[in-house]
Symmetry: C2
Subunit: 436 residues, 2 copies
Amino acid sequence: MPEVYLAKGTRDFLPAQMRRRLSATDQLREVFTRFGFEPLDTPAFERIETLTGKYGDEGQQLLFKIQKRGEGALRGEVDQALRYDLTVPLARVVAMNPALRLPFKRWQIAPVWRADRPARGRYREFVQCDVDIVGTDSLLAEAECLAVASAALTALGFASFTIKLNDRRILAAMAQAIGASGQEGPLLVAVDKLDKIGRDGVSAELASRGFEPAQIDALWRILDAPAGNDATLAHLEAHLPVPEAVGGLRSLLGLAESLGIPGDRLRIDPTLARGLDYYTGPVYEIALDEPGMGSVAGGGRYDGLIGMFAGKRIPAVGIALGLERLLTVLEERLGAAVERPAAAVLVTVWDEARQAASLAAVRTLRDAGTPADLYLGELALKNQLKYANGRGYRHVVVIGPDEGAAGVVSVKDLASGAQRTLALADLSAALGTDLA
Amino acid sequence: MPEVYLAKGTRDFLPAQMRRRLSATDQLREVFTRFGFEPLDTPAFERIETLTGKYGDEGQQLLFKIQKRGEGALRGEVDQALRYDLTVPLARVVAMNPALRLPFKRWQIAPVWRADRPARGRYREFVQCDVDIVGTDSLLAEAECLAVASAALTALGFASFTIKLNDRRILAAMAQAIGASGQEGPLLVAVDKLDKIGRDGVSAELASRGFEPAQIDALWRILDAPAGNDATLAHLEAHLPVPEAVGGLRSLLGLAESLGIPGDRLRIDPTLARGLDYYTGPVYEIALDEPGMGSVAGGGRYDGLIGMFAGKRIPAVGIALGLERLLTVLEERLGAAVERPAAAVLVTVWDEARQAASLAAVRTLRDAGTPADLYLGELALKNQLKYANGRGYRHVVVIGPDEGAAGVVSVKDLASGAQRTLALADLSAALGTDLA
């Protein structure tokens, strides 16, 4: 191992992995465009004032801060920081571009940086994939977010998932109903662990945080809603004074179904407690229906955040796909798939005197749109074939004295060993059929 | 203007510009893949030791350095820096991945960061687009670089350009021939300005830098080569003792033509003096044949750089496309092209009672692969049509009481004003034909 290392918590993406990442982001782009979302990109770093105070004390510690150039460096001053998420930059863009037509539907797939302690699956540079709709109060926007995320998961090959829905106002009313308005934070942190630690675990955690047994009992009377979305909503309506939130979720179920999400994928879940600080209305999370997979997307309405720089209320709703997690699952599914080079065909070079014929062949293939590689080393033909096998090309093209004299090229299928002789003009069509 | 700003020297890319950038990089990816180059990505920041001492004093000053987290921050210590180019990270990747099969052909399109003084067209965050071939001494690698760059320019719509070729060893021999071996740097800096300041300007600059009139005369006797590649090469061969370099260029011309580059695009140019510190063999530059456009790509062989971390000689050759420059030219050519949204169709919403029919229509379009937007605001239909006109949709779909009763949808072409009534099932096909 040479004496050179990656920065802690960062990764290189070598070709095999990079091709899979590009293919996934291509699929996502296609879906986002089909749903009318627009691309946006923002710089890797922002002025430090733009990011300071936006992510709480913990987030603030995780910012990668950039040292000032020039004299400021001597004093250890910083003036910029790498972006921590894609939402604060979006708010800045909205404030700086008052001519932007609202509602503005944007997608962004881009890296963010956090100085977290690296762990398995947790990196300091990772890609976020956000779609947001800025500038409308309509519940149609929530429905669009659920529909685009569902289509995105389907496009990536995830066929089976469940969308859990709740509303920030239901969570707040729940805290109030059990006399714990001031303790909403700890209450919901505990409830959020229900999947992991179970009902008794949540009760024990609440007790240890000072909740009274009567409060805990009252909480379970609300959370123990009957199954089925209609019944769950009726139960919540009966227990909590938030008709707008409950009515909104009822409408959202209908809108989401109209946009093509099967009703049995949608589940009202009063225990869904996410992103408490800034959500203001419906919240949702998508989990793959495979055991242990957990959440792969989440979002909600956050009407207070996007207007922070513009100095006015700008309603917004969004959903973030857990792209790094989804990519990891896709990689695991692929398992030990054979790695192949970008081009499926290697054109060999017989010797220097016959080089031009090989160059003409590779050129003909590429001109016809067939990705083709040219052997660039100094090996003899026999070893070029070994090299081609080792790298995983599917075909090699050979043009030796016999082929040259006959004005043809030989093509060998490396899997079957079958060899054919063809006119150069027919090569691309022949390989195209094989490769399709 | 609100009180929030971009970091100095950085840009946002709003949807219109972002779509053009994505389209250009898609075209480049297609070309690079067709030529058998593989994708690679590396982190935005590297350990500061990896970057220090690689870019000269000037480059070192331009690094964006990241402050240590934790206690180091109090002392103003830095441990990482944003990448300054894509070449040093490539050298690190090659060193850290000894199993990588050579020759390794990779492309990378990614931002780099330099704390340069911002100026018109010069940013602190900008995208580099590099293709490199690592691990072969063969001149075929140079030819591949010229061929892939030519194909890339052609794909982007640049039909007319000239490839200038020279060799680092010719430049070194020239300095030696006029008795200025130790002053190769200033000599070539002056020669490099020939296009800008003309022959007299170069002579004056050389005189001011202490070159003797006899040296300057001797220099022009070498540089004043007769036109035509064969004649130029014969002239250089007669004046300089570097047969390998001259012979290499002669071969390279032939190889490049065999790979499909028209001979009249290739020009041996002994005044081409670029990137002197690390090139070791052939160097080249591509200029658009429009006045004042200057260089849009450049590269050469650099056999000493990629092995720096691996501790051994690893030959390499590459070419970088000036992507930001090319994008600027493309943008200028587009001029005041009408900006259109990601989707060409807006499905309007008549009223809340008829919402479901509009949702079904947008869903049908998207399921058939037609990008379609749904109106998400609260405006009345008349104003939805104004909004659609303003944003530049080409078609709007309307489903009101009449359409609902008849089980059809209305489609209006916003350019012609023509309106049609169709079955929902026929909508995507009808719009698809119009949009094609």
